[in-house]
C-alpha cells in the first residue's frame, strides 16, 4: 500500500504527539500523586439524605480517635454541602463525598484533592493539605446549567488554630 511521504509525516507526528501527551500526563500524575480511586463503595443516591453517613446532620469535619480528620460531604446540583470547610494543615484527612443526583467532580485548588463524584458510589480521598490559606473548591464534571456556579470554600489553618 502506497502512502504519500507527506501523509506519512503527519501520521508519525500524530503518534508522536499522542505519546508525548500521555507522557506529560503520566509525569504530572507521578509528581502530583494523582491516581485512580481505590475505594469502591455503593450508596443509594436518591435516599442519600436519609442515610446514616450522609444525612444532613452527619456532614462536616470530625476528628477520629487516631487524631486524623474525617470530612463527610455531599455534592448536589448546584453546590457542595457543607459549603465551607475548615481543616488543619499537615494532618491526614479522609474525605468521603457522595452525589445526591448526577455526576459531579470536586477539585480544590493547590492540592491533590480532585475526584469524580459518581451517583451511586462513595468517593474517598486520603490526603494531607500542606499549605495554609483559603482555597476555592469547584465542580469539574459538567453537571447541568448551574455547573459553573458550583462553588465551596476550604480553609486550611495552622494546627494550633484548628478547633471543632
Amino acid at each position: 500500500m502506497h502512502i504519500d511521504a507527506t501523509e506519512k509525516k503527519w501520521i508519525y507526528l500524530t503518534f508522536l504527539l499522542t505519546f508525548a501527551g500521555m507522557g506529560v500526563l503520566a509525569a504530572y500524575a507521578v509528581m502530583d500523586n494523582i491516581h485512580p480511586p481505590s475505594n469502591v463503595e455503593t450508596v443509594d443516591s436518591a435516599a442519600l439524605h436519609l442515610s446514616k453517613e450522609f444525612n444532613e446532620d452527619a456532614l462536616g469535619v470530625k476528628r477520629e480517635a487516631d487524631g486524623s480528620i474525617r470530612v463527610t460531604m455531599v455534592a448536589a446540583r448546584y453546590g457542595f454541602f457543607p459549603q465551607k470547610l475548615v481543616v488543619p494543615v499537615d494532618t491526614p484527612v479522609t474525605i468521603r463525598i457522595a452525589s445526591a443526583d448526577v455526576l459531579h467532580g470536586i477539585h480544590t485548588v493547590q492540592s491533590n484533592f480532585n475526584t469524580m463524584v459518581v451517583p451511586g458510589y462513595v468517593s474517598e480521598v486520603n490526603t494531607t493539605f500542606q499549605k495554609t490559606g483559603v482555597f476555592p473548591m469547584f465542580c469539574n464534571e459538567y453537571c447541568g446549567l448551574g455547573h459553573d456556579f458550583m462553588w465551596a470554600r476550604l480553609s486550611v489553618v495552622p494546627k494550633e488554630k484548628f478547633k471543632l
Binding site: 436518591a46 439524605h49 446532620d57 453546590g79 445526591a100 448551574g146
Partner: protein, 220 residues
C-alpha cells in the same frame, strides 16, 4: 428516696436525650417509583380533588387572593408533590395545609400536582426590576458562594423537572415570606439546607428586589 427518684429521672432524661436522632428535613425520595407516580398522575382527577385548593391558590393566577398565599397555577408537579408530602409528614409546618395533606393519599396529591402543572403560570405584574436583581438571578455572587437563581429556577423562572419551583409571576409577599422563613430557619424542608444557605446570604433588600423580579416575569 426523693433524691434517688430524681437521680433516676435525670439519668433517664440523659439517656433519652442521647438517643434522639435529628429528623431529616424531608422524607421524600425521588426514586423511580415516586417519579412514576408523579409523571403518570391524572390531571383530570386532580382537578376534582383540587376544588378546595382553588379558593386560596387560584387557577389562573389573576384572582384577587391573599398576597401572602402562593399562586400554584403552572407550578411544577414534583415541587407541589414534595411540599404536600412534607406537610403530610410534618416536615413543613402550616396548620391548614397539614390538615389537607394528611387527609390525602399520595396518588391524590400527585393528581392535584399534575393538574396545577397543566395550567399556565400567572401573568406578569407591573414591578420595578433593579439591575442588582438581574445580576443576582443571572450571575449570582461568587464571593458569597451564591449561585445564580436561574441555575436552578430557570432563565424564565419556570422551575425544573425535579422539585424546583417555578417563580415566574409569584406573589411578591409570598416570595418574601418564604425567603424570610428560610432565612430564619422557620422553614427547613429544603434538603441539605440549599435554600436556607442562600436566603441567609441575602439581605432583606435583596429578597424584596428578587420578589419584584420574579413577579414581573410572569408567563410570557
Amino acid at each position: 428516696m426523693i433524691g434517688n427518684m430524681r437521680t433516676i429521672f435525670v439519668v433517664l432524661g440523659l439517656v433519652l436525650a442521647g438517643s434522639v436522632v435529628a429528623e431529616p428535613s424531608s422524607t421524600v425520595v425521588w426514586d423511580s417509583a415516586t417519579r412514576h407516580l408523579v409523571d403518570s398522575a391524572d390531571p383530570g382527577r386532580g382537578a376534582e380533588v383540587a376544588e378546595p385548593c382553588v379558593a386560596c391558590h387560584g387557577k389562573t393566577g389573576t384572582e384577587k387572593l391573599r398576597p401572602n398565599f402562593p399562586l400554584l397555577s403552572g407550578q411544577t408537579a414534583t415541587y407541589i408533590y414534595k411540599q404536600m408530602m412534607d406537610y403530610k409528614e410534618s416536615r413543613r409546618g402550616h396548620g391548614i395545609m397539614q390538615n389537607f395533606a394528611s387527609s390525602m393519599t399520595p396518588q391524590e396529591i400527585a393528581d392535584v400536582a399534575a393538574w396545577f402543572q397543566s395550567l399556565s403560570l400567572p401573568p406578569a405584574k407591573q414591578e420595578t426590576v433593579t439591575e442588582h436583581a438581574v445580576k443576582l438571578v443571572g450571575k449570582g455572587d461568587g464571593p458569597r458562594l451564591l449561585p445564580p437563581c436561574a441555575a436552578c429556577h430557570g432563565r424564565k423562572g419556570e422551575g425544573a423537572i425535579v422539585d424546583v419551583p417555578a417563580l415566574a409571576g409569584q406573589n411578591k409577599d409570598y416570595f418574601v415570606v418564604t425567603m424570610q422563613a428560610y432565612k430564619s430557619g422557620e422553614r427547613g424542608n429544603d434538603i441539605y439546607n440549599r435554600m436556607r444557605l442562600i436566603a441567609a446570604s441575602l439581605s432583606d433588600e435583596e429578597i424584596n428586589e428578587l420578589a419584584a423580579y420574579y413577579a414581573a416575569l410572569g408567563n410570557d
